[in-house]
Symmetry: C2
Subunit: 216 residues, 2 copies
């Protein structure tokens, strides 16, 4: 297909496609005349992945390149490819280091209890630590029981993520599934958590209606 | 204590305290002279709650007033008080309604499977629906198995939330715990999910090291 057809099929404007071609994110099409090139399904597929990385992952072009390089390099195993992708979309909030000691202990205890193995290079633990420090500062540090329930929730979510990744087909789909499932999935999980909260709150905290109290 | 001492103890600037007094968020202190009032622990406590609502919940002053009214009205039971708080911090993304039919079915099926009871007024289902529609549009709609794993994760997180709420003391603490645990908790859960993902990914997707393969 021509670049105009590739644009229609992908929903990505021609100017953006040309930018991706110049940046080397999208491979050149087969040249059919000095001013025309032909594109195929692989280009469409790659555009979909770039769109997910840029629009959903909000990744800068340089980082998109790193992820695509990992996708294209068969020497990078799936675990490392996923790591490159998910580290890239994991923001780390600022951490002034105050009061880190006790929070580190609590996080370490949770990680050990969950049996998680996390690289020292991983950005997520610093994010978790910063949130816990802020909770402590606000006087609302979660108890060990609440923290463990949240750890189990995170573990169950990750099991769902791995199911999705294992069903994905090629390497590009693995990255796309993991990226969309993680970034949009955080928002979905937050919404589902609100629904579960409401349901549990109704059971635990709502006074019984008068009819039920009188045995009706 | 004087307003300057209240400011020091709470970390809230005097000008902000005066603004809260004018807006009626903070009750006036006991007048000790025409230009001075005395404040006590209840004012400090209330300031902490306002700070959580404004700084963590990012709630506008009008909504803070609604939540405080629910806290102060003993006729509002805990479930309704929590609902007022958590509905207020639940953003609903824009939803153009396209393709809602199939997504509604999938969400309804999940809610039924989880045994959740959610009010038609709740903002969270619209948020969940919008994310699912976007996932479908991107060609990365989660399977039923993944969706159920996420539902179970949300349910486990909410159990942790309810444990925290039930340990909180007075009504102000219930609101503060639920608000901080939900808003900052979303970020914490996302970080813990990344850690769990890495751990599961290493187990499922990392090639065995050569030593293990050769039986060492």
């Amino acid at each position: 297909m021509r670049v105009s057809e590739l644009s229609r099929a992908s929903g990505v404007p021609v100017a953006t496609i040309k930018f991706y071609l110049r940046e080397g994110l999208l491979p050149r099409g087969e040249t059919t005349s000095p001013n025309q090139a032909r594109y195929d399904e692989r280009h469409l597929r790659r555009l979909r992945l770039i769109r997910a990385l840029v629009e959903v992952g909000s990744l800068p072009i340089a980082v998109v390149k790193d992820v695509l390089a990992a996708v294209d390099d068969p020497g990078t195993d799936l675990h490392r490819m996923l790591g490159t992708t998910l580290y890239a979309v994991t923001g780390v909030p600022e951490d002034d280091g105050a009061g880190a000691g006790k929070t580190d202990d609590e996080l370490d205890e949770l990680v050990t209890a969950m049996g998680w193995s996390v690289s020292p290079r991983a950005p997520a633990p610093a994010g978790a630590r910063t949130v816990l420090m802020r909770m402590r500062e606000l006087g609302t540090m979660p108890s060990r029981e609440t923290l463990h329930a949240w750890g189990e929730a995170a573990d169950r979510a990750a099991q769902g993520d791995m199911l999705a990744v294992q069903r994905a087909g090629d390497r590009a789909s693995v990255v796309e599934t993991a990226l969309v499932g993680t970034v949009l999935g955080d928002t979905l999980l937050a919404a589902l958590r609100r629904m579960a909260q409401e349901s549990h709150s109704a059971q635990l905290l709502r006074p019984e209606p008068p009819a039920a109290r009188s045995g009706g």
